[in-house]
Symmetry: C2
Subunit: 376 residues, 2 copies
């Protein structure tokens, strides 16, 4: 059994649950392998992004719309896949009824009327919660969102491999920024070139969460690429988080178009040192807030600071636990994947550097392979 | 009052409701003006995409995360905006508690313990449904998803204007396909060039649902752009549905790279005739399935056919009622916005043409301004 499914079995015991009924899309990817393209919003052709019913050690059912049947390539082969009829052009359907009937068929055999079921309360829709309550008279829902969030922090080998593949997209994206950045190009035009290289490598469209801001805009810490034209001397912050087959990666570089000023060179040095301090501190047993403190204090020595986290976990969500923030006492363990991103934001620009790393038994391995540099 | 809010008041009366608590993102855009970028999936910084509490004629509250505060530019100024604390890096928050407390503050004054509340069951999360049930002992939820879907069919003037703006992005996108399509370019490279022009016009990133398939792939009716290289003689189906500020547009053209064959020319003619037949039939009082039948029968005359709808409504969702399908008896009325898309799929290619139109008192107005043609 994959370690993450073993942890789900432990959660069942510790919370005295009979089963799980999970609905958060990142959870579906994590536990079943199922993912779908979300770039165009909720599909009008299905009722829900999907649902996962698990009795650990006994059976697992993934519930998806029949129109999503082509997206099952990475689904765990031991998963029972239940499809409900969602849309055909030839006749009107009753997808809610069909969905619930298919779910009941699977659940009737394994769920007693009185059962405690772990759910994700923020994504469990009334259609399902009410439907289940009507069918099974004494069902009790227990929100396990936080427990799952914590369980997801530690990645299995297949998840590390998926994140490595996504990180290659970051590397080529950061290289493309420095290859193409030049005066008179707009931020949007630069982004088109960068995304083009990322998608060529992925051989398909790739959702990318991206800050791409130049000049004074970089002082605002981030933002989407705009029609603003890059000028000679501009700093460009490129924070690129691409998603590939259900897993995110996340890195940031800062480029100066033209000759960097001495202030920019000093800022780069200071932020690079803070990042190295963070990377050296990352190892099992260290608390997240200790890593945050070391990086933040180093930046503060020069009178600078950054009004955001020092980093965060990355996986099926682009920003997850362990959050590297002042209040977080979570202790690091091997195979957490963490992005560190110290920065400074002087009056007229901003400079942020971010690497993505995996915690190892003795320290950490830097997954991102591009080199931070100001140069174009 | 906007006509769509007046229809909500009617729905309150006809279903004997006391209020609405709505959670489907397209509904939020439609009724409150609120929208957000969904291109990178559900935000890890908020609990819900948002919620809207409405007592028609009395008051409306839009509930959003404080981290979404910058996205309120198009929100109806008469809307009360309630923000809950969702994420800060300085300390751990309890966003669920804060969200519910803010909601209760607003609802306590207007909701009796015993009330019937219209909801959207597929997007009403357990966090809200259970929280409301605990606070108000005799709350009854009534699913009004279908009624809202039908109400959304007819667009108000501001909605038509928003769809017109999105349709300009289709026009420039279709022109870009014919400007750039050439042998040896990959579908993905072509898409990068097309999206670049769309985003330059929009002056920002634009979510685009796109079929972009060439050669034999066009026979499969659609698909995302791939690394397949365009070859001389290939047909390219470009079905582009961009989203701008909460509203979609949708058009399709088919291009032949090089000299069209006589089969391709005949197919183009036949599909163009079917589209014109559909456009001529669109007027108030006509049933959706009558339009479908006329177009489908014309294609069938030459032995062809298409295994999909003849068209669909377009608005805050890219595919909505009135569906132009064989079973749909909905009668058209003015200010419905409809995409018609007849097609043929011979053995070795596919050809589909789509225009976006608005139903007028006497017929229809074609919103898309590009011309269908095979030529590059």
């Amino acid at each position: 059994m994959r370690p993450r499914l073993a942890r789900l079995a432990e959660l069942k015991e510790s919370k005295k649950l009979d089963a799980f009924f999970l609905t958060h899309p990142p959870t579906l990817r994590h536990l079943s392998g199922y993912y779908f393209n979300f770039e165009t919003g909720p599909s009008p052709f299905h009722l829900l992004p999907g649902a996962l019913f698990v009795v650990p050690g006994v059976e697992s059912h993934l519930v998806v719309a029949d129109t999503e049947g082509s997206q099952l390539g990475d689904v765990d082969p031991e998963m029972h896949v239940i499809m409900y009829l969602s849309y055909i052009y030839e006749q009107a359907l009753e997808p809610e009824k069909h969905l619930l009937n298919r779910v009941f068929q699977a659940l009737d055999e394994v769920i007693p009327n009185k059962a405690r079921v772990g759910v994700e309360a923020n994504s469990m829709p009334l259609t399902l919660s009410e439907g289940l309550h009507h069918r099974y008279s004494e069902l009790e829902f227990v929100d396990v969102s936080r427990e799952l969030e914590l369980s997801r922090m530690v990645k299995d080998p297949d998840e590390i491999a998926a994140i490595r593949r996504a990180t290659r997209l970051c590397d080529i994206g950061q290289e493309a920024v420095q290859k193409y950045a030049r005066p008179r190009l707009s931020e949007l035009e630069l982004f088109t070139l960068v995304r083009g290289e990322v998608e060529a490598l992925a051989e398909k469209r790739v959702p990318i969460l991206a800050d791409l801001v130049s000049g004074q805009r970089a002082h605002e810490t981030g933002g989407s690429p705009s029609p603003k034209r890059i000028e000679d001397g501009d700093v460009i912050i490129s924070d690129l988080a691409p998603w590939l087959d259900g897993y995110w990666a996340d890195t940031c570089n800062t480029t100066v178009v033209g000759e960097p000023t001495s202030s920019q060179k000093e800022s780069f040095q200071r932020v690079k040192e803070a990042l190295d301090i963070g990377l050296n501190a990352l190892k099992p047993g260290v608390r997240a807030n200790e890593v945050d403190r070391l990086m933040r204090e180093h930046i503060a020595k020069s009178g600078g600071g950054y009004p955001h986290h020092s980093g965060h976990g990355v996986g099926v969500i682009y920003h997850e636990e362990p959050r590297i923030v002042p209040y977080n006492e979570i202790q690091l363990v091997p195979n957490m994947v963490i992005a560190l991103e110290p920065a400074v934001y002087p009056e007229d620009y901003g400079l942020r550097l971010e690497h993505l790393v995996r915690v190892t038994p003795n320290g950490c391995e830097v997954l991102s392979q591009f080199s931070h540099s100001l140069g174009t």
